[in-house]
């Protein structure tokens, strides 16, 4: 039976989520407001929102379990994720924001259609299909995790846990739209940050400090302290390390993270946001792995390593903190689920209804359709989740790589290589996504379990480049590309001062003044 303290902490958290939904209500009456919070978010909200969206329950339960199971070898995941996040902010965020402001894009398919002058809307249709199929899998896995979290912390039945988690997320998402999603992400991200900072410290203290922890791990299994783990420098060991690190590739292009860059108040918000996001992800990931290692030293022999976080939360902390850790797990689940709902809803309402079939519908009606679609998609995911799908994290990692295989090659080439063509982008999206699925179905088991993200992204990039080289780039796209990069300057400031001088000509070339831009945003 759940302690009243744990229930009180949970109720307080859920009340704050609902409060944020009500507070954000004013922003959700039109399409840009509902899906991008009117592009007015400050750096710290964008930073925490992107990290909380990118990291789901997998971080808290899966990565801690990985630290428990393989020790230092799990730092390959940290390397991949932290490097992926850093590179996403450094090379992707600013051109993405600049392009999407110029195009007035609300979604990633909006951007791709304008970048490649895709008048037949092939990229938009493909994107919608891929987003909806992958989000369905990803969202159902998050709701499954919600049911299991309520069940293991509070003893509620699994279906009640799924329904309760879904009801709260649907309420604040439909009431406040992207603004509510981003600000709840901020709070959820702060909670995850605090939890993953405290948990390894308390864990190490419980075992007597760093040296006793290392000694216990060495006594249990010396390979827990080696970077290549039990396999050493064998093919299996190297491919395992590469697979772990590849998890971070997705940060370079999955649509739910691209929309965070687009929602910033201006390009200037992105460098400080990037720094905050990188510090935050270092604490998230290192904290999760170290907590798992400390957990292995204190509680050896757990049947399921992925229960190490709930075990530590209930055994090492008083009831109040156990409640807080339940809230942190729910925060990780909700911050991902709400963003997936908004993404899928935008794919239906903005990308299909408004842009393909009914462009004349009023903004208010479209925003209303957006909310209705959010509810329908949420309920559909509940139906799947109630079947009590096992292997939560298998689904999460598959959906994460499916989205990455389809979008990372195309987004990277669109932003960084002006020679990219429409045919190249279409090929890259189809080949990247197909390669991911085909690898899982036919090759993965026979090839050292190499993570599908690697063949997916590699095949996608190859297809984009090869097809682009034999086809013609869109009319005027090269001038526009140069103008965007002249406006924002090089990523690490190689030409200090030049970006500003170039910015005025860049804006002039695009035919808009700074005042026009500001007025349009309002």
């Amino acid at each position: 039976v759940a302690s009243p303290i744990i229930v009180s902490v949970l109720l307080a958290f859920l009340a704050v989520m609902i409060g944020i939904g009500l507070w954000s209500k004013g922003e959700s009456g039109n399409v840009a407001g509902y899906y991008l919070a009117g592009k007015r978010l400050p750096s710290w909200v964008v930073a925490f929102s992107s990290n909380a969206t990118g990291e789901s329950a997998w971080l808290l339960l899966g990565l801690t379990g990985m630290g428990y199971l393989v020790g230092v070898h799990a730092f390959w995941v940290v390397l991949g994720e932290v490097m992926g996040v850093a590179l996403a902010w450094i090379i992707v965020s600013r051109p993405m924001k600049e392009y999407t402001d110029r195009f007035d894009s609300i979604t990633v398919p909006d951007f791709l259609e304008d970048r490649f002058r895709d008048s037949r809307q092939i990229l938009r249709r493909l994107s919608v299909l891929i987003i909806l199929s992958m989000v369905a899998v990803y969202l159902a896995a998050q709701l499954t995790a919600s049911g299991k979290a309520f069940n293991s912390f509070l003893g509620l039945s699994y279906p009640v846990g799924v329904l309760l988690g879904t009801a709260i997320v649907l309420f604040y998402t439909t009431t406040g739209g992207f603004k509510a999603v981003a600000y709840t992400d901020l709070l959820q991200g702060v909670l995850m940050f605090a939890g993953l900072l405290i948990l390894p410290i308390v864990g190490m203290a419980a075992v007597g400090g760093w040296t006793p922890m290392i000694e216990r791990l060495r006594a249990a299994d010396p390979s827990l302290l080696l970077p290549m783990g039990a396999h050493g420098m064998t093919t299996t060991g190297v491919l395992s390390a590469i697979s772990f690190a590849a998890v971070g590739l997705a940060f370079l292009g999955v649509p739910q993270l691209m929309s965070r860059f687009m929602s910033a108040r201006s390009v200037r918000e992105l460098p400080p946001a990037g720094l905050i996001a990188v510090i935050c992800i270092i604490v998230f990931d290192s904290g999760a792995v170290l907590a798992g290692m400390a957990g292995r030293a204190i509680f050896p022999g757990l049947a399921d390593p992925e229960t190490i976080l709930p075990t530590m939360a209930s055994e090492l902390f008083p009831a109040l903190f156990t409640g807080i850790f339940l809230v942190i797990v729910l925060a990780a689940i909700m911050s991902t689920a709400d963003s997936l709902l908004i993404l899928a809803s935008s794919a239906v309402v903005r990308d299909v209804v408004q842009k393909i079939y009914r462009p004349r519908l009023s903004e208010r009606r479209l925003a209303m359709y957006g909310k209705l679609t959010t509810v329908v998609l949420g309920l559909a995911a509940v139906v799947v989740a109630l079947q009590e799908v096992r292997l939560i994290f298998w689904f999460v990692l598959f959906a994460w790589s499916g989205l990455a295989g389809a979008f990372v090659p195309v987004i990277l080439c669109a932003l960084l290589w002006k020679r990219t063509t429409l045919a190249g982008a279409i090929s890259g999206m189809v080949v990247g996504f197909s390669a991911t699925v085909i690898w899982v179905l036919f090759f993965k088991a026979g090839f050292y379990e190499l993570y599908e993200m690697i063949p997916g992204v590699a095949a996608g990039v190859l297809a984009t480049v090869v097809v682009s080289l034999v086809t013609r780039p869109p009319e005027g796209a090269d001038v526009e590309f140069d103008s965007v990069w002249a406006r924002i300057g090089s990523p690490l400031g190689g030409r200090r001062g030049a970006p500003k001088a170039a910015s005025r000509s860049g804006v002039a070339e695009s035919g808009r003044s700074a005042e026009d831009e500001a007025a349009r945003m309002r």
Binding site: V82, P227, S266, R268
Partner: protein, 41 residues
């Protein structure tokens, strides 16, 4: 061994954390002056 861990483990941990952090700081510093110019526009 450094603090009980092989040096290769420390290399992995440092590359996973310090290198990206350094890049993010450089990114932030490189565009800090963009802020100042834009603020005066």
């Amino acid at each position: 061994m450094i603090l009980g861990l092989p040096w290769t483990s420390w290399v992995l941990i440092l590359v996973a954390t310090v290198v990206p952090l350094g890049l993010a700081i450089k990114f932030y510093l490189a565009h800090r002056s963009d802020d100042q110019v834009d603020t005066h526009l």
